[in-house]
């Protein structure tokens, strides 16, 4: 099958959606499909052979932060050329509602279009204003995928319609086979994420740490991720700061070893998560998981069956649960086993088969993808924008 995938965010900036698309493309290529990924990238960035650059993404303020987006005629022309050259059986657009490549591709294409909705942003003012413009483009999507039941619910509330739930994929064996690093073992709590992003929840964990250390003074907290280390430990009493070790950004291989080594992986995120791939990775590596009870996390952890949940933003509850887990090797072993069994459903072999089923369902009884002839009609009137 000839498959075109549209990535809305810069290929050169690491992020969950980009990794998901990379892994999906490589999984499909390994199965013998022809895959082309259209992604924003600087023209001089080295790209894998299956990625086509759609030009540089422009940083603009959007939705309360600075987002790097693609729009304008140059990008629109590149999207159209890619659609034309690719002659795809199906195109798979990620984040079609963000004002970037996804939306442009949706606008410019016709035929079987699959779209994955990753984030579950609350509906913004701009989205309400843009709704009449967005709707004709989103109407072309033949099949919608949401990454979690939670993301599906928000999608249904905001845009109407329905979606099938297919979780993000993880290469379970990559994590399960990693070798533990002895330096990171022995009463360790692990945290991975941006240090200076409060929604990732490190401040909650820092607040809980004195209580954990009071009960179990040998505990160490290992933190992997970018951000200001001084500021992160500022709230801790001086003598406890040595119990926190910062590892900085770590590679994928080190991440797997990190998750294999820690005694408990803590995910204190306070919001803004629609899936929680890191929990799946932690479970793949056999790390007992302790996470805040966000909807998305509760879903991934099978409502607490495959990992422990505590009340979101409650540092006392987090401390109590962490102490209980650190003191009970039996319970940790039980969580390891349940997690490893539960996580199989997120393996690429399963997720990839489901996504292929969606492709096959929409291509049954439909023609191949083409550039929308509307653009041709516009050109006839001399109104084309490029």
């Amino acid at each position: 099958m000839r498959i075109g995938i549209v990535c809305p965010y810069s290929w050169d900036v690491p992020g969950g959606v980009q990794f998901h698309i990379r892994d999906l493309a490589e999984h499909l290529l390994a199965l013998g499909h022809e895959v082309s990924v259209l992604a924003p990238a600087d023209d001089d960035t080295p790209l894998p052979p299956y990625v086509v650059s759609a030009g540089r993404a422009v940083p603009v303020p959007y939705n309360g932060s600075v987002a790097r987006l693609n729009f304008g005629f140059l990008s629109a022309a590149r999207v159209r050329r890619w659609l034309h050259d690719g002659a795809f059986d199906v195109i798979h657009i990620h984040e079609p509602a963000s004002p970037s490549l996804g939306l442009l591709a949706c606008w410019a294409a016709q035929g079987p279009i699959v779209a994955t909705f990753h984030t579950s942003n609350p509906r913004s003012r701009a989205m309400i204003a843009a709704y009449p413009i967005l709707q004709p483009a989103l109407e072309k999507i033949s099949a919608r995928i949401a990454v979690s039941e939670y993301a599906r619910r928000t999608l249904v509330e905001h845009l109407g319609g329905d979606a099938v739930v297919i979780p993000n994929g993880v290469d379970v064996d990559f994590f399960a086979r990693a070798k533990p690093n002895p330096d990171w073992q022995g009463e360790t709590l692990g945290f991975i994420g941006r240090i200076d992003e409060p929604r990732k929840g490190l401040p909650v964990l820092m607040k809980a740490l004195p209580k954990i250390l009071a009960e179990r003074p040998r505990t160490r907290l290992l933190v992997a991720g970018r951000g200001d280390e001084e500021e992160a430990v500022a709230s801790l009493p001086e003598e406890m700061r040595s119990r926190v070790e910062f590892l900085g950004m770590i590679s994928d291989a080190d991440k797997a070893r990190f998750l294999r080594s820690v005694d408990v992986y803590v995910a204190p995120n306070t919001g803004g998560e629609s899936f929680g791939i890191i929990l799946v990775e932690a479970m793949s590596a056999g790390a007992p998981v302790l996470a805040s009870d966000l909807d998305a996390f509760a879903q991934v952890l099978d409502q607490g069956e495959a990992g422990e949940l505590y009340a979101n933003e409650d540092a006392d509850a987090l401390a109590a649960a962490a102490v209980r887990l650190l003191a009970d090797p039996g319970r940790r072993q039980e969580l390891r086993e349940r997690g490893s069994a539960h996580v199989r459903r997120f393996d690429w072999s399963t997720v990839g088969a489901d996504i292929l089923s969606v492709y096959e369902t929409v291509t049954d009884g439909a023609a191949a993808v083409a550039a929308d002839e509307r653009t041709g009609r516009r050109a006839r009137f001399g109104l084309a924008r490029d």
Partner: protein
């Protein structure tokens, strides 16, 4: 005077273009429903055929075979108005027959059973997908067709008002768990 006339003409042309664009949009939605319906039909037929094969394969006990055969046959032969009910009954029959993981295991162990079970697992997983995509297309078309501009100018022409396909498509858990949903 002539300036007013020109403005009226420009206005009419603009309205005409907008209506033509909306009609094109509606046409595309109808095409999407047709494609989605064809895909749903294909998946339902595939499911009924695999169920019927399983029923006649002598892997199941005679009582289960008869129940499953009846349901699969009825689903394939159902008239359009009875289709939703017949397909729901096939879902129920599949759930009843394959309720026990041991039964699924027995099917897999039979000669050729591995493949039959895989095909059936794929079919019961794809029916809900195809149905969801179909109903999503129907909802989008309905939303547009209810709009004033479409009703007043009869942009939908004689196309019938699209209907969602409602049925019970819950798959047998023992079967899909093995497929790893």
């Amino acid at each position: 005077m002539s300036a007013t006339l020109i403005w009226i003409l420009v206005g009419l042309v603009a309205i005409g273009l907008y209506l033509s664009w909306t009609a094109g949009r509606l046409d595309r939605l109808h095409a999407r429903i047709d494609a989605a319906r064809a895909a749903l039909d294909a998946q339902l037929l595939r499911r009924a055929s695999v169920a019927q094969e399983l029923a006649t394969s002598k892997v199941l006990d005679p009582a289960a075979s008869i129940v499953l055969y009846e349901a699969a046959h009825a689903a394939r032969q159902a008239e359009e108005e009875q289709r939703e009910v017949a397909e729901s009954e096939l879902s129920q029959a599949l759930r009843a027959v394959l309720a026990e993981p041991a039964q699924v295991e027995a099917v897999r162990e039979a000669p050729g059973g591995e493949e039959a079970a895989r095909e059936l697992a794929q079919a019961v997983r794809r029916v809900p997908m195809a149905r969801r995509f179909h109903n999503d297309a129907v909802r989008a078309a309905r939303a547009l067709r209810r709009h004033r501009k479409v009703r007043w100018f009869r942009l939908a022409g004689h196309a019938p008002f699209p209907m969602a396909f409602e049925m019970d498509d819950e798959p047998p858990t023992a079967l899909v768990d093995r497929a790893g949903v």
